[in-house]
């Protein structure tokens, strides 16, 4: 028995070294099934000021009606303070904001999905949002720990057709899979959501419990399902090519910029029309409301093509 045990151990060691060696040499990478062809990164850019001024009046009127956003906000009683903060801050700027929770809370109202599993919950929420879409054509999914500036989201998708499949946000790559990071918010056009809801029924392509031994995070699962319907993740950027969806907080990004561009910290940091930030505390979110919607230097005006009115019954914006 001892010699067999010894052989087993030797076998294990050899197997490990073998696999390691192979991957290091990279001639055969177990994770990639495709060849070394370059995967095109998709960028979706916001319209420039020039582009917008060239639009006709009637076209602009159409766009106003089209660019209305339904917010799908995922909450849990354990993040009650963030839930309350999202309710009191950025969600007021959505045309429709629905909160979806894993379990109900006595303090705040939400659609109780009664589901512990993150991916199952996301599926249910997206399905519910699609069924109750009304005439809204853009969908924004975020956790309550994210902060979003909905007006800037509208600016990004202003000239995009929601009957086309769009799946936007902070695009990430993991192996061969490109997906949109959950932390910085996910944008889906009506067509993308429609295709998703259809493929959710398919247990083969889009199962509720993953096939693999380990579970993929729900944002990756979403990307896999969407990929089957021909919808691919795209990175949301401003007209200068700067990312609009941030997985970090403003403070964190400023600190990075102080290190990377010490002579031009603010310019090198973040877009002026950023859509999301993540990792901010509830208090910092209130400060951001002030910073985005109120604090400004007198005498500097932007004559934007569209005007968005402040929401009713609010005073922190």
């Amino acid at each position: 028995m001892l010699s067999e045990g010894g052989s087993f151990m030797k076998g294990m060691a050899m197997g490990a070294i073998f696999c390691l060696g192979l991957s290091l040499f990279g001639t055969f990478s177990p994770a990639t099934e495709h060849g070394p062809g370059e995967h095109h990164h998709h960028h979706v850019k916001a319209p420039s000021k020039d582009e917008l001024t060239r639009l006709s009046d009637s076209h602009v009127l159409e766009l106003v009606n089209q660019v209305r956003v339904s917010c799908i906000i995922m909450v849990q009683p354990k993040i009650l303070v963030y839930w309350a903060t999202a309710l009191d801050t950025w969600s007021k700027h959505c045309d429709k904001a629905v909160f979806y929770t894993s379990e109900s809370s006595k303090a705040l109202e939400a659609v109780d999905l009664n589901e512990e599993d993150d991916w199952a919950r996301l599926r249910k929420a997206l399905k519910h949002a699609y069924e109750n879409a009304g005439d809204l054509r853009w969908f924004f999914v975020a956790k309550a720990t994210t902060f979003a500036i909905i007006e800037n989201l509208k600016h990004l998708v202003l000239t995009k057709d929601p009957e086309e499949p769009f799946y936007l946000g902070n695009a990430m790559k993991s192996g061969e899979l490109e997906y949109v990071a959950y932390e910085s918010g996910i944008v889906l056009s009506y067509e993308a959501l429609k295709r998703l809801v259809n493929v959710l029924e398919d247990e083969e392509k889009c199962p509720e419990r993953g096939h693999a031994l380990w579970t993929m995070s729900e944002d990756k699962q979403l990307a896999v399902c969407l990929k089957y319907t021909g919808v691919f993740a795209e990175n949301g950027e401003d007209s200068h090519g700067k990312g609009l969806f941030n997985s970090k907080s403003v403070d964190s990004l400023i600190t990075d910029s102080m290190r990377d561009n010490p002579t031009n910290v603010v310019e090198g940091c973040c877009s002026d029309l950023a859509v999301t930030f993540n990792g901010m505390s509830p208090n910092q979110m209130q400060v951001m409301m002030f910073g985005v919607y109120r604090l400004r230097p007198y005498g500097h005006d932007f004559h934007d093509l569209l005007v968005f009115q402040p929401p009713e019954g609010s005073d922190n914006d």
Binding site: G15, C19, M172, V266, Y298, E312
Partner: protein
Amino acid sequence: MKGSSSRLAFSLGFLVGACSIYFFLRQVWFERSYPVLTEAQERATAVSESPTSWRKEGAALINLLHPHHADEDSRLADVLYHKVRVLCWVMTGPYNLQSRARHVRATWSRHCNVVVFMSSVEDPDFPTVGLGTKEGRDQLYWKTIRAFHYVYEHHASEADWFLKADDDTFVVVDNLRWILSNHTPEEPIYFGKRFKPYTKQGYMSGGAGYVLSKEALKRFVEGFRTKVCTHITPVEDLALGQCLEKMGVQAGDSRDTLHRETFHPFVPEHHLTGKFSKSFWYWSYCYYPIVEGPQCCSDLAVSFHYVEAELMYTLEYYTYHLRAFGYRPRYRPSVRQGLTPGPLSQTVVTAGLKAVQVVTDGRGHTTSASSLGGNTIKSETEPEKLGKDDLNSGVTENRTGVTQGRHR
């Protein structure tokens, strides 16, 4: 038999070893996520350094280029820049140049007409003035007295108003100009965060920054010449307040048209979200009633204090960069008389609330967004009853801006 079972064990072991390493690597290496490069990152454009727009004159930095944003219309701000000239002097010291003053120099001080950094020791490179004092809290009033005398002697003709700030104060100079535009530099008046104790008319908090009119500065210097004012205490803000009171300088009300504070002695987070305990000294010091929550602070805030390096840049980003596209703020105060750019605008303002055409290639034409009629006080507090204001919203280049109201 031993040999083959050994071999079996070996193969089994090999399989187990290979598989576990594969799964491990897959999690840790192959499927590790990293963000897709943005187009800006792919182009690998290095962030270009902002052009230096200062002329050094001794220890003062004279601003040649009022910082401008690419997509904005800052004609009104430009008018104010020329009509309401502000000299900013920043109280600092040799040990704070790299940790604090440097960030002031990189951010808000670029919006002053002239900026002078005051230290106990001269530094020709930064540059700073050497006031010839020692460092420390007990030297604050000495530094202040000498700084104001220096500024009066060297730069009196270059500015109309003279602001004192600390190296951890953040100032929105454009909003300061708006407050000051309602007054003239010949008035003996000064503004800041008003405190009430120890004086008849109150005095201004040192940390939140305060600004003297040219006449007020003249009287301050005169007070020391005639010995009406002397160095009585190192408590700089109180002592200055008492001197100015003696010299007949009025303590002004710096609040906005909705009576919201503009100069703030703490950071935004503290004012917006903090609850000041009732025993906190602040309650008994404030001249005007304290408001907690979002109405603590005007949209056109002028200053915050205890701002560290990182927050300086964050506030600069919030003030001058980050915005919500197309958002129409609730608070839209009217343009003060005599400040509209160019004669054409006068007739537009008095003609009433008609949709205005903005000609972008001309000079001295009005910015419709800011020129509203006399009913603005009402519209500030009752955003729902927009009525006439709707016509003026977001007009650009012969086209009425399209508004999108929100109904929940």
